[in-house]
């Protein structure tokens, strides 16, 4: 795995900064309606926070975010996004037709929440994908 630097400063700074990165990532994902941002950017930030833990803290980061969690998160995100798109087809609409999907809401509000859910699922998907890519690249090829 990656080399773990035995540095108190690095551990402390990483442990302090990772929650801030993650909170800002949730802000970027959920605030995509009003400002630049969205699922892709926020997902990258979530992945970067985990990668920072992998580099600095190292072994302990696998306890909360195990090695195979990345691809599972990516698959769950992609599946949820696909279901979000496919559900309106069963109700007689077209692909990703949020207005048909959330039919009990007025149409603009339904689109609002559809966009929100799509951004959240994209965030989960990108988060898991980049974690999986990093873990594979950093952990593969060594004896």
């Amino acid at each position: 795995m990656t080399s773990v630097y035995e540095s108190l400063f690095l551990h402390t700074v990483a442990r302090a900064i990772v929650p801030i990165i993650q909170v800002f990532a949730f802000y970027v994902i959920t605030h995509g309606h009003y400002s630049p941002g969205g699922g892709f950017q926020g997902g990258v930030m979530l992945a970067v926070s985990i990668i920072l833990l992998r580099i600095s803290v190292g072994e302990e980061s696998f306890e909360r975010f195990p090695r195979n969690a990345g691809i599972v998160l990516a698959g769950v995100g992609a599946l949820c996004f696909a279901l979000l798109g496919l559900a309106p087809l069963l109700l007689g609409g077209s692909f990703l037709d949020y207005g048909r999907e959330f039919f009990w809401l007025p149409a603009p509000t339904a689109h609002y929440w559809g966009i929100f859910l799509a951004e959240v699922f994209i965030g989960i998907l990108v988060w898991g994908s980049l974690m999986a890519i990093y873990d594979t690249l950093a952990g593969g090829g060594e004896e």
Partner: protein
């Protein structure tokens, strides 16, 4: 086999470049997107009324062009799956076992 794959990749790239030459020039006033300006005008005028989303980019990205965004997201997942498939695992123990044996493989690597 290797040359067949290389030839297929080059062929695919050539097809993509050939398709890209058919795109209109940037800023072309006769481009279909400029001539049939109902799409762009529709986004600018109606995006907030239809989606309650002040950020027009988000409305276009996740709603009007949601299918395109879905494709982008699937490409990211495909990249991750390709990494897992192509790159070798650290040890046979980590590869052969189920979910239980992978933390053991990583812990063995960490104590290196």
């Amino acid at each position: 086999m290797r040359f067949l794959v290389l030839a297929l990749v080059i062929l695919l790239g050539a097809i993509l470049v050939w398709g890209a030459t058919d795109l209109p020039q940037r800023g072309d006033p006769l481009a279909p997107a400029a001539v049939h300006e109902s799409v762009a005008v529709h986004y600018i005028e109606r995006a907030y009324a239809e989606t309650r989303t002040p950020n027009m980019v988000t409305a276009v990205l996740a709603d009007y062009r949601g299918f395109d965004t879905f494709g982008e997201a699937v490409v990211v997942v495909a990249a991750a799956i390709s990494c897992l498939l192509i790159l070798p695992r650290r040890s046979p123990k980590a590869e052969g076992g189920g979910e239980g044996s992978r933390p053991a493989g990583t812990s063995a690597g960490g104590s290196r």
